[in-house]
């Protein structure tokens, strides 16, 4: 990918981060840490890769994305807003009574959301059903799902980990947001799901390990997944929880708590600085 496009995507991803934080701050509740870690991936998918139409969110043959780690809805809503599915100004209504921006993604209520999620382990299985539907209908749309690394502790993830290779769902790509932290702390201390890559390999997946914040690596992983026939692909993304907000990075305390006004302002100014620096490169 050329450097200019990477810079443009980085700017968008940091706007998505701002949207996510604005949502969580306005709601005084939500999950900032894991939202910030997947912002680059979501930006790449929705701005570079996926066949979608903000004017026609239910387009039949669109690519689908199921946010299996549904608690990071602020990032999904942010990217959908930036992509034009709805007004980014709506972010301040996140989790508010009467708002369509529910605490976790809801199918049919939020333009661009392909499945209701929030209960961990379920979304990736739903994605398997979507990929199977495409196979049954000989359609070429692709299905993406994003999981948390802590989410891998849910047993039903491994039911689906058997299913997708068994039915050769090579139209399905999952991303594990491997930021290493879950609510109660270090994933290896709470309930160790590692080695994540070897587990998926053993279950029959094509596995790629990348840096979640490197657009070239994201792009090549997705291209490799598309070129891989006969098996689904699991992309294990080494990520930084709370990415690009200094005091949130790698701190599990920011898994599920909202910033106060001072923290919010600092986070926004840090992100604005980053955006300013990126814009100067254009």
């Amino acid at each position: 990918m050329d450097a200019k496009r990477i810079t443009e995507l980085s700017i968008i991803a940091n706007k998505v981060r701002k949207d996510a934080l604005t949502g969580v701050y306005s709601a005084a509740a939500g999950h900032p840490g894991g939202s910030l870690s997947i912002a680059d991936l979501l930006t790449y998918l929705y701005f570079e890769e996926m066949n979608i139409d903000p004017k026609n969110p239910t387009m039949e043959d669109r690519d689908r994305l199921v946010l299996s780690k549904g608690h990071t809805a602020p990032a999904l809503y942010g990217v959908l807003a930036e992509r034009g599915f709805f007004d980014p100004a709506e972010m301040k209504n996140l989790r508010k009574f009467g708002s369509f921006l529910q605490g976790h993604p809801v199918l049919g209520k939020i333009p661009g959301v392909d499945m209701s999620t929030g209960s961990l382990g379920q979304g990736v299985c739903v994605a398997g059903g979507m990929a199977l539907a495409a196979k049954l209908d000989n359609k070429s749309y692709r299905v993406y799902s994003i999981l948390g690394d802590g989410e891998l502790e849910e047993g039903q993830v491994w039911e689906q980990a058997m299913f997708a290779p068994h039915y050769k769902l090579d139209n399905m790509t999952i991303f594990v947001d491997n930021n290493g932290l879950q609510i109660d702390g270090d994933i290896t201390k709470v309930m160790n799901p590692t080695p994540i890559d070897k587990k998926f390999e053993a279950f029959g997946w094509h596995v790629i390990v990348i840096d979640a914040h490197n657009y070239n690596e994201i792009e090549s992983a997705i291209n490799e997944a598309k070129a891989t026939k006969g098996k689904p692909t699991a992309v294990i993304m080494k990520s930084v929880k709370g990415k690009n907000v200094s005091f949130m990075e790698n701190n599990p305390a920011w898994h599920g708590s909202a910033p106060n006004e001072e923290q919010y302002n600092q986070a926004i100014s840090e992100l604005d600085e980053i955006i300013k620096g990126l814009e100067a490169q254009l």
Binding site: M115, C125, V126, G128, G129, L132, A133, L136, M162
Partner: protein, 311 residues
């Protein structure tokens, strides 16, 4: 008279109504020989998906298929559908209102010899709590097959409850099944027996015994427990003044509770609820029905008690 288990009817109806509809996909969790979805698999293997022993995944895969326009039938024993996969059904099927049909076989105590671990007596209660979920508990072969047809035609989640035990035919070929409508099988003025599934036959037997004793009992078959036919229940409460419900299910949260809710709201009168009150055990279905009071005799006894409670 033919004796057919409603699980067999499920398999046959999937062939009859499911094969011609290209959107129908049948999923099973390694129980296709028992749930009888193998009947569908034999003629339509390309739309049969074995999920392995993975009910949680099955419900969610069914949901995913439904988001893409498929009518997914997720099939397993009631215990592992409504029980094990409750939260998947609630959050991935019920909440988004997806067009998934749950074919739950081996429901109730009539599972028999397998014992309490497999005798699902709480599925109606569990499924009733999910907004938008339609629940059908057919009483015979004909009704079970038409329930499958109705489920295909209905847009939204449906839970179908089928039994392992072969049952006598209740209806002839002219029977018209209407989703959400109770069926008055016999009129009566002193009390009403509202039954579902296998207990409908017992209700009819009870009404005959009562008739011999000079008591006129109305009998209503409720195949669709949700949405419940409030009209037929309210009319029964008003016109007969006493109701006895009978079901092969725990007394809490099932048909009896649903009927009582309607009666309390619209036309308060005595309601006696017949169902199980504890975990079952191994045994022949007839032995178990006897042991847990799921019999015509117990219905008769309860009808008399209910009549005594009338003002």
């Amino acid at each position: 008279m033919a004796k057919v288990a409603t699980r067999v009817s499920y398999g046959e109806a999937l062939v009859k109504y499911g094969v011609p509809n290209e959107n129908v996909v049948v999923l099973d969790a390694d129980l296709s020989k028992s749930t009888k979805t193998d009947t569908f698999k034999k003629v339509c293997p390309e739309r049969f998906i074995n999920m392995g022993i993975a009910e949680a995944d099955m419900m969610c895969v069914a949901a995913g298929l439904a988001t893409c326009g498929k009518i997914a039938f997720a099939s397993t024993f009631a215990m592992f559908a409504a029980g094990r996969a409750f939260e998947q059904i609630r959050n991935s099927i019920g909440y988004p209102g997806l067009n998934v049909k749950i074919g739950a076989t081996h429901a109730g105590i009539s599972v028999g010899e397998d014992g309490a671990s497999h005798q699902c007596l709480e599925d109606i209660a569990l499924m009733r709590t999910i907004p938008g979920m339609v629940i059908i508990n057919p009483a015979d072969d004909r009704e079970a097959q038409l329930a499958v047809k109705a489920a295909i035609e209905h847009q939204g989640p449906v839970y179908m409850r089928f039994g392992r035990l072969a049952v006598d035919d209740l209806y002839d070929d002219d029977y018209k099944f209407e989703l959400g409508k109770g069926v008055m099988l016999r009129d009566g003025k002193d009390a009403t027996i509202v039954a579902t599934g296998l207990l409908v036959q017992e209700a009819l037997k009870a009404a005959k015994i009562l008739e011999d004793e000079g008591i006129s009992a109305r009998v209503i078959n409720i195949h669709t427990i949700k949405p419940l036919d409030e009209e037929i229940i309210t009319a029964a409460a008003k016109e007969t003044g006493a109701i006895v419900t009978a079901e092969e299910h725990y007394i809490m949260g099932g048909l009896g509770s649903a009927v009582a809710e309607v009666v309390c709201k619209n036309a308060p009168c005595p309601v006696k609820i017949i169902g199980t009150e504890e975990f079952g055990q191994s045994g022949k279905p007839a032995e178990l029905f006897e042991a847990y009071g799921l019999t015509a005799e117990n219905i008769v006894k309860n009808v008399k008690e209910a009549i005594k409670l009338k003002k």
